[in-house]
Symmetry: D3
Subunit: 245 residues, 6 copies
Amino acid sequence: MSEALFRPDHRAADQLRPVRLTPGFVATAEGSVLIESGNTRVLCNATVEQGVPGWLRNSGRGWVTAEYGMLPRATLTRTPRESERGKIGGRTHEIQRLIGRSLRSVVDMKALGERTIILDCDVLQADGGTRTAAITGAAVALAMALDKLVAAGTLKTSPLRQMVAATSVGIVDGNLLLDLCYEEDSRATVDMNVVMLADGGLVETQATAEKDSYSRKQLSEMLDYAEKGIRELLAAQRVLLDKAS
Amino acid sequence: MSEALFRPDHRAADQLRPVRLTPGFVATAEGSVLIESGNTRVLCNATVEQGVPGWLRNSGRGWVTAEYGMLPRATLTRTPRESERGKIGGRTHEIQRLIGRSLRSVVDMKALGERTIILDCDVLQADGGTRTAAITGAAVALAMALDKLVAAGTLKTSPLRQMVAATSVGIVDGNLLLDLCYEEDSRATVDMNVVMLADGGLVETQATAEKDSYSRKQLSEMLDYAEKGIRELLAAQRVLLDKAS
Amino acid sequence: MSEALFRPDHRAADQLRPVRLTPGFVATAEGSVLIESGNTRVLCNATVEQGVPGWLRNSGRGWVTAEYGMLPRATLTRTPRESERGKIGGRTHEIQRLIGRSLRSVVDMKALGERTIILDCDVLQADGGTRTAAITGAAVALAMALDKLVAAGTLKTSPLRQMVAATSVGIVDGNLLLDLCYEEDSRATVDMNVVMLADGGLVETQATAEKDSYSRKQLSEMLDYAEKGIRELLAAQRVLLDKAS
Amino acid sequence: MSEALFRPDHRAADQLRPVRLTPGFVATAEGSVLIESGNTRVLCNATVEQGVPGWLRNSGRGWVTAEYGMLPRATLTRTPRESERGKIGGRTHEIQRLIGRSLRSVVDMKALGERTIILDCDVLQADGGTRTAAITGAAVALAMALDKLVAAGTLKTSPLRQMVAATSVGIVDGNLLLDLCYEEDSRATVDMNVVMLADGGLVETQATAEKDSYSRKQLSEMLDYAEKGIRELLAAQRVLLDKAS
Amino acid sequence: MSEALFRPDHRAADQLRPVRLTPGFVATAEGSVLIESGNTRVLCNATVEQGVPGWLRNSGRGWVTAEYGMLPRATLTRTPRESERGKIGGRTHEIQRLIGRSLRSVVDMKALGERTIILDCDVLQADGGTRTAAITGAAVALAMALDKLVAAGTLKTSPLRQMVAATSVGIVDGNLLLDLCYEEDSRATVDMNVVMLADGGLVETQATAEKDSYSRKQLSEMLDYAEKGIRELLAAQRVLLDKAS
Amino acid sequence: MSEALFRPDHRAADQLRPVRLTPGFVATAEGSVLIESGNTRVLCNATVEQGVPGWLRNSGRGWVTAEYGMLPRATLTRTPRESERGKIGGRTHEIQRLIGRSLRSVVDMKALGERTIILDCDVLQADGGTRTAAITGAAVALAMALDKLVAAGTLKTSPLRQMVAATSVGIVDGNLLLDLCYEEDSRATVDMNVVMLADGGLVETQATAEKDSYSRKQLSEMLDYAEKGIRELLAAQRVLLDKAS
């Protein structure tokens, strides 16, 4: 890695952007967190609904799903609303499926019972890494909503088995960088998203070559960076949730 | 008006909810304001785009339009996304047409030239009066975006002729009430929205009987309340814009 | 008001266009009226269906709703079909919500029981004032459909509490004009729709400034004109319904 | 054919329903005819637009197309609007393609030049045979719109080569019947639509077995009936158009 | 008919293209046949589902329906997917309704019981005559699926009353031609599709003039050609089904 | 890995299913390959179109994109058509984005020039691994289409830099398995897709935990399996393309 490494916000290559978690950002949801990761800001709200999708009915098992949206001016150039266009785009579909899978991996569906938890992740301002911020934030909103079910006596213990968080890593000008902002992301040749559990187990690793391929060695180094970052995010989540309880 | 009047937040009948305007809520838009009116919170972002819709091309005139959305958990019970349903509902259509008309009334389209200003009004939390809060907030975002065009030397003077603001009035249990919160709104027999200019001219008055009709006298009293409230909102806008300039 | 006032059809400022109500225009509907207001022609058909929307089920209460459409060549320049475009536009949504609310205000939903009345208002030819003509005509179609339920012994008495009618007023070149035709409407600076009950109670007043604002005094004068016009429309409805019974 | 043949309106087996053509039913369209065939009533309006679809651009040739719709209460049981359902159904598609093809067969597209004629056929009341009534009526609206282009000096002579009309034949209880009404149509085992030119040339013959197949001999007899009916319809069209010119 | 008759594949005027039926083309469907008619290749798969559409529930009767699709590169120039365009086009609607009607004509719905058979006809390569190939192929897939229900003991005997097949005839340069390929079809002035039962009964005859009309005599000659062709197709179906049983 | 390892088709844990590539499956496309991987069969067709999407216009660069579809009876239980549902689902979006990215990684867009290559991947029969089969097959169709541009003299040399192929790996009952069939896939706790270049560079690695997380060590072992499988697929592609040239 060259001495000349320069990040727009002067971070070290393996340094996360400052993370801020604001609980209860809206008062209307069962769980609500605003996650800010540098200039990326995602509002994560958890909803608990009775019942489950058709294929799970009478199974005694619950379901967790996610929806992802971006306000038109989350981006520097206005992005038209998907409601106006009349359909959800491919990128949105891909992201909300990733968030949903990641959060399902930490919930004991038997213990949840026939309830559905919907995680709405809405990007208020976008500067790269919105999908990983959404996962990290939604995990907190999910934990809060489940705690509320316990507090209300609906469930005896929280069906949350452990926490989960996510970050991105990329290769820019040959340098590995943790937690890419938009400017870095748009110049990256490789872009990787990692979702990891508190116990270190991996849930999702997606590494995509945008312009150049990558080697097994580079993949392994990207995982090292991601693990370091995710451990810090898990710590931030823990601080917040400990305070809350 | 009976002594026993009770409002959930102990306001007087002709008292607005506390209003807070946070400028620059997102850094990505040309004009951005978070307006909070009690528990109602609407993010208003202004976008300046080159060009105008087809029917105005080569007219030398500009255009101002608005889009309105509600995050799923702005409400106590989750509202499904219009992007998922694949279409904009009737209520959304009605509201964004109202916002658009209201803001067009204060812009000199000739002076704006062939540019389009889009006002995105997204409700983060809803507690009644979202459409009137959106108008009041969007007017500020619009003013900021136009000031930016002047500051950049694109326009010599702002095409904004004057400010505009809006509020609601209603009749609940026979009592006139200014600026209804959701609980009051759902019990109102008459619901009125008023949009007024800084010079006192009326732009929109819409009074709807939900369960009972209203008399000419009641209509006049509702307008008195609305005028009082809108003058206070116009003052709050002025404070903010004077600070900004 | 200047001497030089000129209306395309030589009406006085406070004069309605000739109104004609043709009952039973189609034989297939439970209630059917063709309303002609000058060159504006709207076919209003009432349908009685068993059952109510989900949120009213088992409430013992009925529901009244409206749908509004315009044939492509109702207008001088062909308007593409909303069925071809795949969605209902904002103007249509706004109008059918207005018609629905207006007619719900005169029906005793408890007395109607769990039935839904749908008022289909289809514009065959448009020359301004289609939404107010639709309300006036649909009220008659509604009355007929309810009378038929009484005649059939399904209901003991009609759940219609009183009649309702609507008209428009506008300001053109500084002159107040009642019941605007298209040419006047397109030049109006202020456009107002008023929906009023037979007992004089107001149900909807919507005054919109298109190019210029209006004063409280002007609003009051517009209401005077509207009241005069609506009383005449209510008389025309009465003549027809008395003949029918 | 048995003596006991009974048609709901006491017609002979090879007798058309009374046909009435009302020209200029709306004043807004370039050509407008209300065609009534018994209780079936279809409003046919012709629009002339500059330009042609992409694949004909710069070909010097024109285009003729049709759209078909049914008002919700054209039928005894209300049919939901296709605009509300968000898409055109298969039956509508099939019918408007048939009308379009039929009318294209009588227009000299070179003589028409790069113009598009749209025939809007809207069913106000349906009692069987709406698609054939639409063809017969739309041909008149088309002729009128083309005559208007000649009268205006836009075209030297009308590009209409000859007239075209259509009717239906069916087999009900083993009896051949001309011009089926709804009650007959719903009991028919075979249903045939025939579109024929004034010179006797066939443009469309579509015979469909609904419950039972048919023989070559029956097909030939059905064509005899259809020819007889269409000659009468062509005569009715001629009377109207001669009067008009 | 002139001596100089030339068909791109040197066939006689009344000669079918070589037909090949490959049973079991996919192993996943209850009935599966790839039909090849010259270069036209259509995959026909039959699905048996429990239950029937709403209007047949508790009638004791079954239902048969069809869906038709074309892979984007079935054609020489790529055709955009209807799933991407978000709606089924008019041509597709027309074709799948024709296939459905044709196959319903040979099934005893009482004997089928409350089951639905869906025939999916997907064009892998198109060279004219895809709809008639789909009918001929789908009839075989249907027969196989019904035989499987008998083999499984679900039904005592097959509800298939007899076989059905279809072909096209056209007039090109004044010559009658059987079974048009794409090149011939695009030059045809008249295009006819005929669906016929094994017992010679006609189910559908649709003759469309594309550029020129046709006479009763020509219609009769086209039927002669079609009958000859369909008898050969019925024979090919029989060979396959006899082998299978 | 236990001795008792049992795969439905008796393969070794690190053994691919038999692969068959049939070139020219349809004659209509610029490149066409049917890839069969065990019972999974995907038809991959390449289309070359002039021009590029808007954001690349006048850049001198080309574009490669993919669309993915599944015939309704590719699956044991019929899957409704996305064209009937009126929208592309999330899974389809995710897959076609993956195929598109993978193929773009091997094309020199400058050398391609302002042309778009569309890869249509349609699943005729599905038994797991359809997306990786689509990538492997589409790469061949792409190579063929580019060779055709060279053969036609449109391009001097093929813009294809190297070949690319893909396979899946999973963990089932604690055992690593290469190239999962549907039965294995539905029981897998971890599912990984790998896309690799002929030079060994990685383009995509996506490992998803369905029920259980995975360790870094397991990720590395899965990559070993995938590499082995992809080298065999690349060899099969080479054999075919060498024969073709």
